[in-house]
């Protein structure tokens, strides 16, 4: 026991003598854990919310019965099934307008509701009697209450003039949903004896098969392991995860270099211990234990940092998810215990992974091996040659996946392979460039400059790889975001062609507004809009109705169209199809499509394909009259107004005063545009923030590598000093060398980054969102990144350089005096 403690003390003394090395190790582990855990926290928060939404009274987690057309069906089917022994519970669902916001109204039946399909206890504690009996209750989450600007107990009026029962706060309810009793829902929606679906409880018992009870009127929908929201937002989370993973890997580069050096420097110490009679196993056990302790400590700090990162990013993430997918994420970060444990585990696993090679070496250490503190660099140098082969292999994999793969995951695999291959190839490429430099000159100092750079390469290569990855991803993401925002702005200009947009509170008010507008001379045109949703190809699809008007013919941006597209739409037999939908369903121009509607199948031809950025659902755009004749229940409360620019403000004031519409129901083009751009900017704000973090970590990696190298560089520098170079000159040369390799790395990162951008735009985006952007290159952005990279390298070199400048001549002399 005593001996073990001595071994621990001896081995730990190393960190006391090398605090900077210890700090490096900690920083690496903390950075890796923090970014990874931060991203995980964000994902976890979002997933919890999706689960909450899905669990809300039979989302997609419960098996259910629906009508094959997707529409409402007669309540009698529910009674028939119950009487036949089916443990079903009815649900009626529709979207309603409250305070100008669209909210899901869910009518449920608490008495038959299967306990597993809902949080029945929520109703229980709220009191089902109060819930069912007149006037009833409208259960609502705190988030929705706040969003609507209402208070507990309020009785808001719906868009159709019906009044909700008193609102009742139900904290555990999913946001964006209002839950009332089924009978109340039928009254509110004017759908007497109509149901949307039947949830099937788990209760078992003899029951006849479905057809014998309800014929073909209902169809069974099996529960899905994945909710709609999860499917829609998968790409977003995959994106975040990919970034988290990248940061983690970059962090591990730092850890690896710190541990490698630390172990190597302790080899003589280990040898001495062995010579003193300590068994081979003991120091190794202590080394592992020490590593685990450090990893736990760093992991704990990393988790706190990760929490802070997640909390800082959450508002942007929540805003993006709401804006893009309508997913409601609470703004308060709540974390499960698993998160903390997983964070510590990832830190320990990361540390062990990064130390694996060093530990193996320590295990195999021969008793009498000469201590060679720098031998590991040489060994790595040999190892780097193998990396060249590895890189080729990884590139080949990327090419194969690119050729055969056809999914989002494949897209990310190509990206990862590309980055990994480039990282592996980097030292080889750098070595080649430096060798060319060395051969190109005959001046001794310059030759030494290139040769010494090559020698240094093995020690710096991991940090340079990290820099390469961070830069390439920055270039890639930057290019994609810039491409997107340019395309998006142009597209938005085309799509937002009306000067004023308004949404009436009810159909009656909409009619009133139309009549009133018709008498105003300053209104050039009223463009009514309507939208319905149907099930098409197994997913909800929007049908958007537009009038035939020059505004759309001139400005609506089409990606691809038949020559008479707008005439076909006007005649009611043509439809425009959104890019997402055309890709998903493989719809091509001229193809006939049959849409299921309550009035029977409706066949239209694909007349054009248009970009519909930001819409997670597929969309058809048709003539509004055709829409209303096939889907007569579609709301007609929306309209766009064409107005001369100078009349916008006056007209809006008049409408506001006359009809009491507020900012949520009445907006001018500029503010709608601003809001849309805001959503997209926030989406990419998260990506940019993670981008910046990654670059920061790469900078730290470079700094720590240079610091660890700086001490070991003395034997190389002292002879130069001895033959007459001043310390200042030496420092200048050292700085030049670092900047030189950083520049080469950054230059290599540029084409790699563009390749990454292409992958993102041509593969990942298409798979994730369903749209493809035109690819642009932004030279200014590239130059700026190049400058940032060099700046990072400069900052990272400053400290070691200053150390060199201030070094006492005695230290340099000692190189020759001391036995090494």
């Amino acid at each position: 026991m005593r001996r073990a403690l001595w071994v621990v003390a001896v081995l730990l003394s190393h960190w006391r003598r090398h605090p900077l090395q210890f700090a490096t190790l900690m920083i690496g582990l903390i950075a890796a854990t923090a970014l990874w855990s931060g991203v995980q926290a964000l994902n976890q928060q979002a997933r919890t919310s999706y689960d909450r939404a899905a669990a809300a009274f039979g989302g997609t987690r419960t098996p259910m019965l629906v009508s094959p057309s997707g529409g409402a069906f007669a309540q009698q089917l529910f009674v028939d099934l119950r009487r036949a022994g089916w443990p079903v519970s009815p649900v009626l669902e529709a979207r309603v307008q409250i305070e100008g916001r669209s909210v899901r109204l869910l009518g449920i039946e608490p008495v038959t509701m299967p306990p597993e399909a809902s949080a029945a206890a929520e109703i229980g504690t709220a009191g089902a009697q109060a819930f069912i009996a007149s006037p009833g209750q409208a259960l609502i989450s705190r988030e929705t209450l706040t969003e609507l600007g209402l208070r507990d107990g309020a009785t808001p009026t719906l868009g159709n003039g019906q009044q909700l029962p008193p609102l009742k706060l139900q904290a555990a309810l999913a946001p964006g949903v209002i839950v009332v009793d089924i009978g109340i829902a039928q009254t509110l929606l004017a759908m007497p004896d109509q149901l949307s679906r039947l949830l099937i409880g788990k209760a078992k018992g003899p029951r006849p098969n479905l057809e014998s009870v309800t014929g073909q009127q209902l169809r069974l929908v099996q529960p899905e392991s994945e909710t709609d929201l999860e499917r829609l937002t998968d790409s977003f989370h995959l994106n975040l995860t990919a970034f988290g993973l990248l940061s983690f890997v970059v962090g591990l580069f730092i850890v690896n270099s710190a541990i490698g050096l630390g172990f190597e420097q302790r080899l003589p110490m280990l040898r001495t211990l062995r010579a003193c009679g300590v068994s081979a196993r003991q120091p190794n056990a202590v080394l592992v234990l020490e590593l685990v302790m450090i990893a736990l400590l760093a992991g704990a700090v990393g988790l706190v940092c990760g929490y802070v990162i997640a909390a800082l990013l959450l508002p942007d993430v929540a805003a993006s998810l709401r804006g893009l997918y309508g997913a409601q994420i609470p703004g308060q970060l709540t974390l499960k215990p698993e998160w903390w444990l997983a964070g510590l585990a990832i830190s320990v696993i990361g540390a062990l992974l990064a130390a694996a090679s060093s530990l193996l070496k320590a295990v195999r250490l021969p008793l009498l091996a000469a201590a060679q503190p720098y031998a590991w660099q040489q060994a790595q140098h040999r190892w780097l040659r193998l990396q060249g082969g590895g890189a080729l292999l990884v590139f080949a994999t990327a090419a194969l996946v690119l050729w055969f793969g056809d999914s989002l995951i494949a897209g990310f695999i190509v990206l990862a392979a590309l980055l990994l291959g480039a990282a592996l190839a980097l030292p080889v490429l750098l070595g080649l460039v430096l060798a060319v430099g060395e051969r190109s000159t005959r001046r001794p100092l310059l030759r030494w400059f290139w040769a010494d750079s090559r020698l240094q390469l093995s020690g710096l290569s991991l940090a340079l790889m990290a820099l390469l990855l961070a830069l390439a991803v920055n270039v890639g993401v930057g290019t994609m975001v810039e491409s997107f925002s340019r395309t998006f702005v142009g597209w938005l200009d085309g799509r937002l062609s009306s000067e004023i947009y308004l949404n009436a509170a009810s159909e009656a008010q909409a009619r009133e507004i139309r009549t009133w507008l018709a008498q105003r001379p300053d209104v050039q045109a009223v463009l009514p809009g309507s939208q319905a949703e149907i099930q098409f190809g197994g997913a909800p699809v929007q049908i958007n109705g537009l009038p035939d008007h020059a505004t759309f013919r001139d400005q609506w941006p089409l990606l691809d169209a038949t020559p008479d597209a707008w005439d076909r739409v006007r005649d009611g037999d043509g439809a425009l199809v959104s890019e997402q939908l055309s890709r998903r369903m493989q719809l091509t121009l001229g193809q006939s499509v049959t849409l299921p509607t309550p009035t029977g199948p409706w066949t239209v031809q694909v007349a054009a394909i248009y970009a519909d950025y930001g819409n997670p659902k597929g969309q058809f755009t048709v003539n509004i009259d055709a829409l209303l004749s096939h889907l007569p229940d579609s709301p007609q409360t929306r309209m766009g107004l064409r107005v001369a620019p100078e009349n916008i403000a006056v007209l809006m004031d008049a409408i506001r005063a006359r009809f009491g519409l507020d900012g949520r129901n009445l907006a001018d083009q500029a503010s709608v545009k601003k809001e849309s751009l805001g959503i997209f900017n926030r989406t990419f704000a998260v990506t940019s923030a993670l981008n910046a973090f990654t670059l920061g970590v790469a900078g730290v990696a470079l700094l720590t590598s240079l610091l660890t190298l700086s001490n070991s560089r003395l034997p190389q520098l002292a002879p130069l000093w001895a033959i007459g170079l001043t310390r200042r000159q030496l420092a200048g040369i050292e700085l030049m060398k670092t900047m030189c390799v950083a520049l080469i790395t950054a230059l290599l990162a540029l084409p790699l980054g563009l390749l990454v951008a292409w992958c993102l735009i041509a593969i990942v985006n298409v798979k994730a969102f369903g749209w493809r952007l035109p690819f642009h290159v932004f030279p200014l952005q590239l130059v700026a990144l190049l400058a940032i990279a060099l700046l990072a390298a400069l900052v990272a070199s400053l400290l070691p350089i200053l150390k060199l400048v201030r070094m006492q001549p005695a230290d340099l002399v000692r190189v020759f005096a001391n036995e090494r």
Binding site: Q75, Q76, F78, V79, R82, R83, A84, G85, P87, E109, P110, V111, T112, M113, P115, A120, A121, I123, G124, T125, G127, A128, Q129, I132, A133, S134, D181, I182, G183, I184, Q186, A203, K204, G205, P206, R207
Partner: protein, 360 residues
């Protein structure tokens, strides 16, 4: 009979207030205690009329159709079966159509053998057809469970009937016949429940003969035996000091019947009541002080100690018997759990019957 009313009030209250949470349980009770106003009141001297009174009485708060059967297979193995439909109004009002109907229905079903007890429950709202009762033709149902009058149904015998229920691990279907008319409990159907004047309308058909099939875990067993139906409705809440009850329905020799119960009160005093029904259908009320009921053995079930064996004495009638359960673990694992199962008795009289105990 107050005991049964209390228990069922609890259970029915539960049906309203949610599905199995203690909160709801308490709330149901509180709800019952507070506003009987607005509901019809039980008054002495009102004559029951049939078939109308076989149907629901939405003006009253609570009501049930309650059937228990003592059965045996060809080899003489004993079985028990229970079929119950409860109705409770959440609010006064006689509206009987649509979701706005303030009626909640609950069904309980169980079968018991010497080695097994299976129970199930189901819930439904009134007004839409999922559950309900019609007096003519007689039909009481919830989901696929039903009690239906057959051809030749008589309003006075409530027979013949077809009864069926099924759940995951048991099912049964019986035909019930009766030659004698139903009997009125209490004082001509006015059943007093406490000295404080609480009461219900209560009548029974204790003379059913039963024949049919029951299945436990998939094995069909042909059975015959006797059955007893209770009908009761009231609006009167119970006093809060009543904690539970022990209720017997016994088939005595010579076609005599005995119904008795003990209502336990917090102060340790018990309210006793019962009716002695003679072979020719006369129903005679027993004086409270004429009834002696003493537990003789207990069984521990679900963290509770239940008195499953009893000594009963009605000295004035020369009755001194000991009852033992067919299955001491006849536990109704429903939202509000209780003990209900077939019993056998011996002593001065011997025979079979049913025992229900709640509030333990």
């Amino acid at each position: 009979m107050s005991a049964r009313l209390t228990r069922r009030s609890f259970v029915s209250g539960l049906a309203i207030t949610g599905l199995g949470v203690p909160h709801a349980w308490a709330q149901g009770f509180a709800g019952l205690g507070s506003d009987a106003d607005g509901f019809a009141q039980v008054v002495p001297g009102r004559a029951l009329s049939f078939p109308a009174d076989h149907g629901p009485h939405p003006a009253f708060r609570i009501e049930w159709w309650y059937l228990t059967a003592n059965l045996a297979d060809a080899a003489g193995n004993a079985y028990g079966a229970q079929w119950t439909l409860f109705r409770q109004a959440m609010a006064p009002g006689t509206r009987d159509n649509g979701w706005a109907t303030p009626q909640i229905w609950m069904g309980h079903a169980a079968v018991t053998s010497a080695t097994a007890h299976r129970s199930a429950e189901t819930f439904g709202r009134g007004g839409i057809g999922q559950a309900g009762v019609t007096p003519t033709p007689f039909h009481a149902w919830i989901d696929a469970w039903e009690m239906r009058g057959l051809d030749g149904f008589s309003d006075m015998t409530v027979a013949p009937l077809h009864v069926t229920a099924s759940a995951e691990n048991f099912s049964y279907r019986f035909r019930l016949d009766a030659q004698q008319p139903l009997v009125l409990q209490g004082d001509a159907g006015y059943s007093r429940k406490s000295e404080r004047g609480q009461a219900s309308y209560y009548y029974s058909q204790p003379y059913f003969t039963a024949a049919g099939t029951l299945a436990i875990d998939g094995n069909d067993i042909a059975v015959t035996g006797r059955a007893w139906m209770d009908r009761e409705y009231s609006s009167q809440p119970l006093a809060s000091d009543q904690t539970g009850w022990d209720w017997f329905s016994l088939h005595l020799p010579e076609n005599e019947k005995l119904m008795l119960f003990r209502l336990r009160q917090k102060d340790g005093s018990h309210y006793f009541a019962g009716n002695w029904i003679t072979a020719d259908g006369r129903s005679e009320q027993l004086a409270a002080n004429a009834i002696a009921m003493t537990p003789t053995a207990t069984t521990d079930i679900a963290d509770r100690r239940i008195p499953t064996a009893w000594r009963i004495a009605i000295a004035a009638r020369g009755l001194h018997i000991e009852t033992v359960p067919l299955n001491a673990r006849s536990w109704m694992a429903t939202s509000f759990a209780y003990w209900e199962g077939p019993v056998r008795f011996s002593g001065s009289h011997s025979g079979v019957g049913y025992l229900e105990m709640t509030g333990y």
